[in-house]
Symmetry: C2
Subunit: 214 residues, 2 copies
């Protein structure tokens, strides 16, 4: 059933910690630190030192016993592992207040992520500009996505439209989706979906508050 075994080089948990490591390492570099021990770095990140060393060993990022790790070395290694040593054109679908906020966000650049397309279904919004990107109608997606080489799409539309948008993106050739709508998307095998659900996170917090505190 599962065809050729897919090489999963990295535990998914490790992968999801890498951006956090990377962010802290950049900060250390900017502060002029050039060597750091796993103990020190782990403490600053709030993770275990053994876990940190294990994670780095998956990436074959070595330190020097007795000395620690090179900050720059780690930062570059993680950047490469994440694939951020090249540009990633990005589409944002949905130009409501959330979509617009996501399109306006300035932090993508340092991760080599570039918003190159914005879509909406409302003709009144088409033509509007957000940070030098012109909003296109969703029907133009196949053309615009082909032209700009978009490979990642962020879905910021109402729940009722999310599945349609996902279908449209997949048809247009996008195989990685970040979905803000609180619905489980159905997508063909090979398409990667990650969910970002604000309400869900708040619900989790509510539960934790009840069990941890009063």
């Amino acid at each position: 059933m599962e065809g050729i075994a897919r090489q999963r080089i990295l535990p998914l948990e490790t992968l999801s910690r890498l951006p956090v490591y990377r962010q802290k390492l950049r900060q250390l570099r900017e502060d002029g630190v050039d060597t750091v021990s796993s103990l020190e770095l782990a403490k600053q990140l709030g993770v275990g030192d053994a876990q940190l060393r294990r994670d780095l060993s998956y990436l074959r990022l070595l330190g020097r016993p007795g000395r620690g790790y090179g900050v720059r070395h780690l930062e570059e290694g993680i950047t490469r592992a994440l694939g951020l040593d090249r540009r990633w054109p990005l589409a944002i679908v949905g130009c409501g207040s959330l979509g617009t906020a996501l399109a306006r966000y300035e932090g993508y650049a340092r991760d080599n992520l570039v918003v190159t397309a914005i879509f909406d279904i409302d003709p009144a919004k088409v033509g509007k500009k957000v940070r030098s990107v012109t909003v296109s109608h969703i029907d133009e997606a196949p053309r615009v996505i082909a032209e700009t080489g978009v490979e990642l799409a962020v879905i910021a539309v109402p729940s009722s439209a999310a599945q349609h948008v996902a279908d449209a993106m997949v048809r247009a050739g996008v195989t990685a989706l970040l979905n803000f709508a609180p619905v489980a998307l159905a997508v063909p095998a090979g398409v990667i979906v990650r969910q970002m659900d604000i309400s869900a996170e708040l619900q989790i917090l509510a539960h934790l508050k009840i069990v941890e505190n009063g």
Copy 2:
């Protein structure tokens, strides 16, 4: 070292699936479905049926062998487990485009989450209204939070301010934070933090695209 053993009734993984289950169950109920088998529900959610049954068994939510589970029964049970059978006043800190978008979001209501306070540090924004909530200055947080009974806060400020905001919230008595800034917050024990990092998610997608596809 660990004081009184803290009852962790639920695996964290289970907990984070509950909002997803809940959402699908509401949808089924609205569609008039009143009984569903673990197999059917699991298929619609894209999870394993054994996992679903196990998760429900943690909550002592029973089905009828040969019949399935009562949709309404499950929905209510999960709502109760998440603590959403009462109102949760919510604060949003940061009234930039992301903060405003989060404050404007209409989906909180069905989860019993209510935005009752919005804060910003910019005096020019204080007094502005978003969805009938007036923006307060962050310095007013202790008073406003006490008055409105806020227990959850969403941090939507620039990275450079996030730690200060977290400190201020904790001082004002908030013990559960949802942080959109891409920094690891340091908080006292007992304060719960959950991270929502858009860039991090996109970085993960980028990596997965590389290893899964070309």
